[in-house]
Symmetry: C2
Subunit: 364 residues, 2 copies
């Protein structure tokens, strides 16, 4: 964090979206979908309905009814199949009706590109404030991978809808079953669906969410603009905002990817002066290795930025020849608990390594 | 039909189940699941809760709330993964709650092995009468393939549940979307799920269902027992009950099958004195060819019986060396309408042939 005092945001307006989406893509660690798509959708909604009120979790009444909203699916698909925003309200309404509860606030469940701006569409359409927070403090590929799971909040009842008007409401025995069933519906819906899940009270949201995500994203986005205008070091600025550090800089010399069971999986090699850094991703960058030794891994953040501009690079935008810098930054401390590691540690994703924490120290 | 007067049934008790399940397997035309599984489940429920009242569609009040209940999935899986009957009530309750309607009657949506007896479990558990009818007059592999679809009744809202306690409620834009989404959930649920769908009023049930299915099944089953006791021609007796005729008799010399996307698909060759008859199936027998010429096809019934005993043979029980007789019989006339053929004609299943109707005439 910068440590500098910033005026706290109280609304999000159309003119904040560029910075917000850019910062969200940084926290998206390569996943979360193309920030451009989310930004376009949100811009349209904010232009039509006006700015959305931003409420810090600390200000939520205990009995608030907080409804997270997100896109589920393969980011590679979302780029080509822009979701119909008309269905967002239906998705929230389906869950609200099932629960017999009237939503008072919309929230982000993920600090990823699409999923940081997408809930603003719901908030604008429904005339509700949005919570300045999210369920991860970063992006992760599966539905159960949220801090509310760690604090015992059920993913379901959840609603899921496609752009045609098909809607499902799922009630599951655990949050991993919610992932499995919602994923199969998402795939049948064309690999992109709108979901509303982890409905929670204000008290639960204060405990379960990461506070300040949307203002942090906006701050990162603004800082990037400022530093670029000053021809400063954009990568260092992003690392500074996140309490992270530069891990590696170089050129992408190899990218292997495939879209399997609704995810974009693969790996990339970044060749630099200090050798090759291998990035393994599954929607998000999850493991960074040098000479076979893991430098940092999930749950900590592995962020790929364009070296010149500091612009975040999504895993689907990684291309041979791209000059990139890799920044590592600490995740929310709750992710390092045994329950957190079981949920999002490297072994869950099939990587044969214990988690390697961001050490915070030294030069790359 | 026999044309003989039969005392109409007013209840189904445990002692009726053997005949009912056997007759249902005949109408199942090779699909609908192993009748033994459905019979076991129903026997347990009827022993515990007593006989279930059987109501002809004509006796349904206009404002009755009829809830069909069925198993969805690959019959080959149901044989090994017996569903938990405790979840049937939850499945009906989930749909009833969503609709805000109290069910007054349970119904069969399919005249197949499992799906003719499975609804009796729901009826017994919930203390409700069961409608003496079904939605097809036979078995078909997909959810939208029911006569209520032809009379404009929506498949959804529908509920779907697995044995673990996961429950979904789907609302879809059309009945084919219901099939697609429920199928993907069924596959994720382990290829077998409990569903309740096509909830309808008594007036709609009278129009949309085939009347008399459960008593017809029981009559066929009883007739088979009688004829066998008299060492009579069991195959001819079945054909007589259905207004059908013997198409072919011989020995199974080849069976090819695979379970793909939740279905049991394949073909079988029955070698006889009059040449080879090739049966093509997708859960149910759908096309019968001799020398490349289609003899009879879906929607009419192609029924494979053990030549000696007249016992119905499901597609998953077909084995090399099995001596079988193939009976053709007419489907409900509504299936031969243009809408019916579009829904369940041979081309829908990928067979390059116009439908060939059972001609009712002559020797094989």
């Amino acid at each position: 964090m910068t440590g500098t005092l910033t005026t706290s945001m109280t609304t999000i307006a159309e003119e904040d979206l560029e910075a917000l989406a850019r910062g969200a893509a940084v926290l998206g660690t390569g996943g979360g979908g193309d920030p451009y798509v989310g930004r376009l959708l949100a811009a349209q909604a904010l232009r039509e309905h006006g700015p959305v009120e931003l409420v810090p979790p600390a200000d939520l009444p205990d009995d608030a009814s907080v409804f997270p909203v997100a896109m589920m699916g393969a980011p590679t698909v979302m780029v080509e199949k822009t979701p119909s925003t008309e269905r967002i309200g239906d998705t929230v309404a389906a869950l609200a009706e099932h629960l017999g509860v009237t939503p008072t606030h919309i929230a982000c469940i993920e600090a990823g590109g699409v999923n940081s701006t997408f809930p603003l569409v719901a908030a604008a359409q429904l005339g509700l404030p949005v919570v300045d927070g999210d369920g991860m403090g970063r992006a992760f590929p599966e539905l159960q991978m949220v801090l509310p799971t760690l604090s015992g909040i059920a993913a379901t009842p959840m609603s899921i809808a496609d752009e045609k008007g098909n809607v499902g409401v799922l009630t599951t025995v655990d949050n991993r079953s919610a992932e499995a069933l919602a994923r199969s519906l998402t795939i049948t819906m064309g690999c992109a669906a709108i979901i509303s899940n982890y409905a929670m009270t204000g008290a639960q949201a204060r405990e379960g969410l990461v506070a300040g995500t949307l203002s942090l994203c906006t701050r990162i986005g603004r800082r990037l603009e400022e530093v670029r205008a000053e021809h400063g070091d954009a990568v260092a600025a992003v690392a500074g905002e996140l309490g992270g550090r530069l891990l590696h800089t170089g050129k992408v010399v190899d990218v292997a990817r495939r879209t399997a069971t609704g995810f974009a999986r693969g790996s990339a090699v970044v060749a630099g002066e200090s050798g090759d850094l291998v990035l393994e991703f599954q929607n998000e960058h999850l493991v960074a290795r040098r000479d076979g030794v893991v430098q940092v891994s999930t749950p900590d953040l592995i962020i790929v930025l364009d070296t010149d501009s500091g612009e975040p690079v999504t895993t689907e935008a990684l291309r041979f020849g791209h000059r990139v810098s890799v920044v590592a930054a600490p995740a929310d401390e709750r992710w390092h608990s045994p329950g957190g590691i079981a949920l999002v540690g490297p072994r869950y994703f099939g990587y044969e390594t214990d988690p390697v924490r961001f050490d915070g120290a030294g030069a790359p």
